[in-house]
């Protein structure tokens, strides 16, 4: 699966001996154990905000106080955040709409077999992890932003393979970019007509409403972050349209 080269040289060019490698391995493993145990010994902190959120938590539809604040008590702020993300995506959308993140090569890029193996094995795991984080945001740390960020990481990893390209002005891309804001605004309109106030959830229905908004927000956040990457990762020769006005200092003597 991985093409492991035998490149075991140190900084001066000599080969590392086996006891040195074992020592380095033990040291790295000890650092790893320290990092994990640090996270495990953390105890519950009692902050003042938690005292206000805790009594209202059963009426919010979720069990995680962070998700309750983000998507129920302060859902208007999250709506504006999604809108700002969409504005950022429109602002960095490349002028050359049909572009590729790097040159598409033939299937099976033999120059980077480790990358191919890694991406092939990691992509499904990352997608499942993102779905898990999205679902468990109601009960444990997680939520839409975390799932969207991890899904964007998987998308960027797939784009490293250079065997796929992205058409930015396709209908699918535009739909995925806008679906978060559209679903959020639709939910706001529905709650206005059914409950009398914008983004006012009934405690019995708040659970699935928050889940619907989170699913759309995850898709939008991941696509917008991948769009940020794609807009920067294209070579300058691909975007001949914006090369003229992009860098004003390139013509100074």
């Amino acid at each position: 699966m991985f093409n492991i080269g035998d490149d075991n040289t140190d900084l001066t060019g000599g080969k590392r001996s086996t006891p040195t490698r074992v020592t380095y391995g033990i040291f790295v493993f000890m650092v790893f154990i320290v990092l994990v145990s640090v996270i495990l010994v953390s105890e519950q902190a009692d902050t003042t905000i938690a005292k206000y959120v805790a009594p209202a938590l059963p009426f919010s539809g979720v069990d995680n106080p962070v998700t309750a604040v983000l998507l129920n008590f302060r859902s208007y702020d999250t709506l504006l955040e999604i809108a700002v993300l969409l504005i950022v995506a429109v602002a960095v959308m490349p002028s050359n709409k049909r572009l590729t993140a790097g040159n598409p090569t033939t299937n099976g890029d033999s120059a980077l077999p480790a990358l191919h193996g890694f991406a092939t094995w990691f992509m499904p795991i990352t997608v499942i992890m993102a779905g898990y984080l999205l679902w468990t945001g109601a009960y444990a740390p997680g939520g839409a932003f975390q799932a969207g960020a991890i899904l964007a990481g998987a998308g960027i990893l797939v784009l490293q393979l250079r065997s796929i390209s992205i058409t930015v002005d396709s209908l699918l891309m535009q739909t995925l970019l806008a679906i978060g804001l559209v679903v959020f605004l639709g939910m706001a309109t529905l709650t206005y007509f059914f409950n009398g106030m914008v983004l006012q959830y009934l405690p019995s229905e708040a659970g699935w409403q928050i889940l619907v908004i989170e699913i759309a927000a995850t898709i939008t956040i991941s696509i917008i972050l991948v769009m940020l990457y794609v807009s920067l990762a294209t070579d300058v020769s691909d975007t001949s349209a914006d090369e003229k006005e992009a860098v004003p200092c390139s013509h100074s003597p």
């Binding site: 640090v38 939520g143 960020a149 991890i150 990457y229 990762a233 300058v236 860098v247 390139s250």
Partner: protein
């Protein structure tokens, strides 16, 4: 109690050290790599402060995605044709 204080001091001093090294590095590429390390240390500190959602978001977006965007920005900066040859990977004096 003392062990926890020691671990927190290690993380605080380490984060400050990595941040200062990131600012003083003579290579832009080195600064970006140290920026990713800052993101990782900050994620662990968020976990120490019991803010788990922020830790996940910091590890994914703050260090991973921002580091990736900085790298490809650096690559794109090197591709823009300029008269001065200093806009290339390595120099901080653009």
């Amino acid at each position: 109690m003392v062990v926890e204080l020691g671990i927190d001091m290690v993380f605080a001093v380490g984060l400050l050290t990595v941040a200062i090294t990131c600012l003083l590095a003579e290579d832009v590429f080195k600064s970006i790599v140290l920026f990713v390390c800052i993101g990782l240390l900050t994620a662990i500190i968020w976990a120490r402060l019991n803010a788990w959602d922020v830790a996940i978001a910091e590890a994914a977006i703050g260090s991973g995605l921002t580091g990736c965007l900085l790298m490809i920005t650096l690559r794109r900066l090197a591709q823009i044709p300029t008269t001065a040859s200093s806009v290339r990977r390595g120099s901080k004096h653009v």
